[in-house]
């Protein structure tokens, strides 16, 4: 099977791409993009300086800070001396890249580091904390009782009293002790983080979300054997607008309803020979491809619905009702055979109830409520959040502010839909 890929304006980018190009084993560019998420560490040096000065280390509230150790503050002009610190980091870490943008220090460790590490999500942050602590200690000639422990604590928070780093030194991904399920770290970015990293561009956020979900699917065996083609096609159609299907569905149903999208998806699937209507009963001829078509329809319905009201609040109900309607209309399985509908119902309930959910932007793929669906749900929530004009309490502009800055430091993450699609053409387009 060969596919064509289109951009957000419905224009062809690359054509006649074999499915094998989507395989992470053969596509080095995709592996590099995924690697960026593991080996990039960042810290707001302004925050580090003020935290050390105030002694406000160890707090664990997301909004606010409950801890302040009196008498422990260390006044270190870190920003003023950032070049010295950066030079030392270069020596100790031998990073592939190290840049500062408005006080945000971004370090990309060499690929070899994550190849060596058994736990390649935790290793970069721990290793960087050691190097940065020593760099600061040397820069300011700190002795044992001059606050070296404060520096390390500011970087890693309560770790190892807490089971994950909780300080100012950040990585994109959550360490395994903080997430649900093994090999799920690629799924630990929140929807808001992905949307911010994508600069709120709808197709970029979908592609980025899918890349991460796809990486996790690959990592934990969801994309081998019987399931390999299912996730490859999902990535291609829902994630990358293969054959312009998602774009066409949106364009044709832009003034319509969820039901219109369902009808059109079914019609296209019949026309393309993926399903057939035999005496009023639908039958599937190509199950993974049907799933990919259904998933494109789900994304189109979300974009139309959330785009219409410029809010992400309805995303969960759109996704669950789309799948419900699809099942009722065809008698065929909905996206991911019920996993998305179940996850969307759970997500929808949590984002409208007293049980602790928050809005669409705070969800992440590995969370218990939505992890039942791998790949097909989170990209739709990302698309919805791109359209949100501030109806949510927790929005990318506030809770994921740092991700917008990271876009500048990591150009490989911008325009990512196009970059992924070009990568499918092979090494020459990396």
């Amino acid at each position: 099977m060969r596919l064509d890929f289109y951009d957000e304006n419905g224009k062809l980018i690359v054509e006649d791409i074999p499915m094998t190009s989507l395989d992470l084993k053969s596509n080095k560019a995709l592996r590099n993009m995924l690697g960026t998420f593991r080996r990039t560490i960042f810290i707001d040096l302004n925050a580090l300086e003020s935290t050390l000065r105030e002694g406000t280390v160890g707090g664990e509230m997301i909004v606010g800070n409950e801890c302040k150790i009196l008498g422990a503050g260390v006044d270190l002009p870190i920003i003023e001396n950032k070049e010295i610190i950066v030079e030392k980091l270069r020596e100790y870490l031998e990073p592939e890249e190290i840049v500062t943008i408005d006080g945000l220090l971004v370090i990309k460790l060499p690929f070899s580091d994550i190849e060596i590490a058994c736990d390649s999500v935790s290793s970069p942050i721990l290793k960087t904390s050691v190097a940065l602590t020593q760099s600061i200690a040397e820069c300011f000639d700190l002795d044992i009782f001059d606050g070296i422990d404060m520096v390390k604590t500011a970087l890693l928070g309560r770790y190892p009293q807490s089971v994950s780093p909780t300080g100012l030194l950040k990585s994109f991904l959550k360490v395994p002790t903080k997430i649900e399920g093994l090999s799920s770290s690629y799924r630990s970015l929140s929807v808001n983080d992905i949307v911010a990293l994508s600069g709120k561009k709808v197709f970029d956020s979908i592609s980025l979300a899918w890349l991460l979900e796809y990486g996790s699917a690959y990592e934990c065996g969801y994309s081998v054997g019987w399931y390999k083609r299912l996730y490859q096609l999902g990535f291609a159609f829902q994630g990358l607008n293969a054959n312009n299907l998602t774009y066409e569905l949106i364009r044709e149903c832009r003034n319509g309803t969820v039901h219109d999208v369902v009808e059109l998806v079914v019609q296209k699937a019949v026309n393309d020979g993926i399903i057939e209507n035999r005496e009023g009963q639908y039958r599937i001829k190509d199950l993974p491809l049907w799933n990919a078509y259904a998933a494109s329809g789900q994304l189109a319905a979300t974009i139309i619905g959330s785009g219409a009201i410029r809010s992400a609040q309805n995303a969960g109900s759109i996704i669950s009702s789309y799948n419900d309607l699809l099942q009722i209309f065809t008698g065929l399985p909905s996206v991911e055979f019920g996993r998305v509908m179940g996850s969307a119902i759970f997500m929808n309930w949590l984002s409208h109830s007293i049980y602790g959910g928050g809005g669409a932007g705070v969800f992440s793929g590995e969370h218990v409520s939505v992890k039942g669906s791998r790949g097909f749900l989170i990209p739709c929530l990302c698309a919805a959040m791109c359209f949100d004009v501030g109806t949510q309490l927790f929005v990318p502009d506030t809770v994921s502010k740092i991700m917008f800055k990271l876009r500048k430091a990591l150009p490989e993450l911008s325009d990512i839909h196009r970059k992924i699609v070009y990568s499918l053409e092979g090494e020459k387009n990396e």
Binding site: V63, L70, I354, G356, G357, L393, F394
Partner: protein
């Protein structure tokens, strides 16, 4: 020998029933075996009744063929330090002492939530007004929902308030004007509860932020664990917001819940590592710095007493309940823990070191920490305490194990170093140094297997930049390998002493400090040892009672 020193000697004379506590000779094996203990006689009598009624034997102390025949040594009773309460060792066992249990329960069932985010949701998403009047109304409602009252749906089952009468919510803010305009039944009034200077600094730090301190019922943490606490509080709080502000269902509820459960919540303890996995708000996850904040003795007593009360609190919490109970898997190490809060021993040794510091350095926090200072103070502490053990063989008899003595010695060194330097890192280094090296020089390797194992690791760890080390002392706790055995007294003592020496009104969090000044708590954290004494005498009024559910119960 000062007056307080005499008190320790008098205690030893009394409990060993001798005038000469320097006598190195004694007659063992002539004390009457287990029968010398009134408690054990009670236990045996009751055990026989239980065995008869249930048909399965229980507690066979009077059988000579089962285990070691207890009572070969003299069963000396114990005075709880700072009290006149004389009790048996069995009275300090976790299961036998309701005050110790409630102390843990009151910590575990507490959670603090910021209300500012919730108020923002009300104002910005729902267009509601938030005023002192609406907050007062909300506080009435939340004091209906948190103990188990229903507001949202018909046919929901409600909780008998008699079972949850220890459950409530209060407000904490540093904004004096707002505080004064709130219904005082719901306010934790820092100005009234703390000395003026401390109150001022706590208020300044909290500022205009508003926190809700919620106590879920003791029964809740008895049927579940610390993980239920922030969830219970959050859910009942959201329901109270719905009712108090007439908020409909939908998206804002999820934001309320997210704010309360995740975004602005202060749980006291972190989740622990998988092999010892426990939910938030369990004791192994509580950082050392919170112990001195939870302890409220600084509001009512002198510095040393505050340190001693904190040590008792932390020692019991970590060593008796966490290590002995949760981790050891049962009845718990009563002896090592009791040694730090009985018979005035630790008080006396610390008082000696306090005077030595005043004489040597001229006051608290007057000397800059370095390795030589730590060594100097530690050596003095060790020499003094070992001398005292030599002087009073009955004290050796009372502190009968190397681990027990080391617990005491290292705590004295740590407290003294904290007082002299005002530096918590130096105090911890002193404690670990004494445990791992100094005492060994004098006494050989004397601790139990889990003793200096971690201290040897801790000394280099504390001054490293490793991820596993170099965490500031106030944030360390028993979830760290190098802090993970049952001698928590010295870190608590040293850290608390370091901040006491510099006159700090809290150790780690002004919010936690203020939250535990609440007079409605069942356990009085101003007087830790007096409360434990009440438990030993069976005079402590605990919560979480289910008697009304018994046949014939009423309420």
């Amino acid at each position: 020998m000062n007056e307080k020193r005499n008190l320790m000697v008098e205690r030893l004379k009394e409990i060993f029933d001798t005038d000469d506590i320097t006598d190195k000779h004694t007659s063992f094996y002539h004390f009457g075996g287990w029968k010398q203990s009134k408690r054990k006689q009670e236990f045996i009598k009751r055990a026989k009744q239980i065995a008869e009624s249930r048909g399965i034997p229980i507690y066979l102390r009077d059988r000579e063929d089962i285990g070691v025949p207890l009572g070969q040594r003299f069963y000396e009773p114990l005075y709880i330090s700072s009290t006149d309460t004389l009790c048996e060792r069995d009275d300090l066992q976790l299961i036998n002492n309701s005050a110790i249990q409630q102390m843990g329960d009151d910590i575990k069932r507490s959670v603090i939530m910021g209300l500012d985010l919730a108020h923002r949701i009300l104002r910005e998403r729902l267009g509601k007004e938030v005023t002192p009047e609406t907050i007062n109304h909300y506080m009435e409602v939340v004091n209906h929902t948190v103990p188990g009252g229903v507001v949202a749906q018909e046919h929901m089952a409600e909780v008998n308030p008699e079972l949850t009468k220890d459950s409530y919510a209060k407000i904490l803010t540093g904004d004096g004007e707002l505080k004064d305009s709130l219904d005082q039944r719901f306010v934790i009034d820092v100005d009234r509860l703390f000395p003026e200077e401390s109150a001022g600094r706590i208020n300044d730090e909290i500022g205009s932020k508003i926190f809700q301190v919620t106590r879920v019922p003791t029964l809740a943490v008895r049927i579940a664990d610390g993980g239920i606490v922030h969830r219970w509080a959050s859910q009942q709080t959201v329901l109270a917001f719905i009712a108090a502000y007439s908020v409909g269902g939908g998206a804002p509820l999820a934001d309320f819940a997210f704010a309360g459960k995740h975004a602005q919540v202060i749980t006291l303890g972190n989740t622990t590592w998988p092999r010892r996995a426990r939910a938030p708000n369990e004791f192994g996850g509580i950082p050392y710095g919170y112990i001195g904040d939870i302890c409220q003795a600084d509001r009512v007593s002198d510095s040393l007493t505050y340190i001693m009360e904190s040590i008792a609190l932390g020692g019991i919490l970590y060593d008796l309940i966490w290590w002995g109970g949760y981790m050891g898997g049962g009845v718990g190490p009563v002896n090592g823990t009791a040694s730090i809060y009985t018979n005035e021993v630790l008080d006396e040794f610390c008082r000696y070191m306090d005077e030595w510091i005043q004489h040597k350095y001229g006051g608290y926090a007057t000397v800059k920490p370095d390795a030589n200072i730590i060594k100097e103070i530690s050596q003095e502490s060790v020499c003094h305490v070992l001398d005292e053990y030599d002087n009073y063989p009955v004290l050796l008899e009372e502190h009968w194990g190397g681990g027990i003595r080391l617990n005491v010695i290292s705590t004295v060194a740590s407290v003294a170093t904290g007082l002299a330097t005002g530096n918590s890192l130096a105090s911890l280094l002193a404690g670990h140094y004494v445990y791992s090296h100094l005492v060994k020089e004098a006494m050989g390797r004397n601790a139990w297997g889990g003793g200096d194992a971690v201290d040897l690791v801790s000394v280099p760890d504390l001054v490293s930049t490793f991820p596993d080390g170099a965490l500031v002392p106030e944030l360390r706790g028993p979830n760290i390998f190098s802090s993970m055995v049952a001698h928590s007294a010295f870190p608590i003592g040293g850290i608390t002493a370091s901040h006491v020496a510099r006159g700090h009104p809290w150790i780690l969090s002004p919010i936690v400090k203020a939250a535990f000044s609440d007079p409605n708590l069942i356990f009085d954290f101003r007087y830790v040892r007096k409360e434990i004494a009440k438990g030993a005498k069976r005079e402590f009024h605990f919560a979480g009672d289910r008697d009304i559910l018994k046949p014939g119960g009423s309420g």
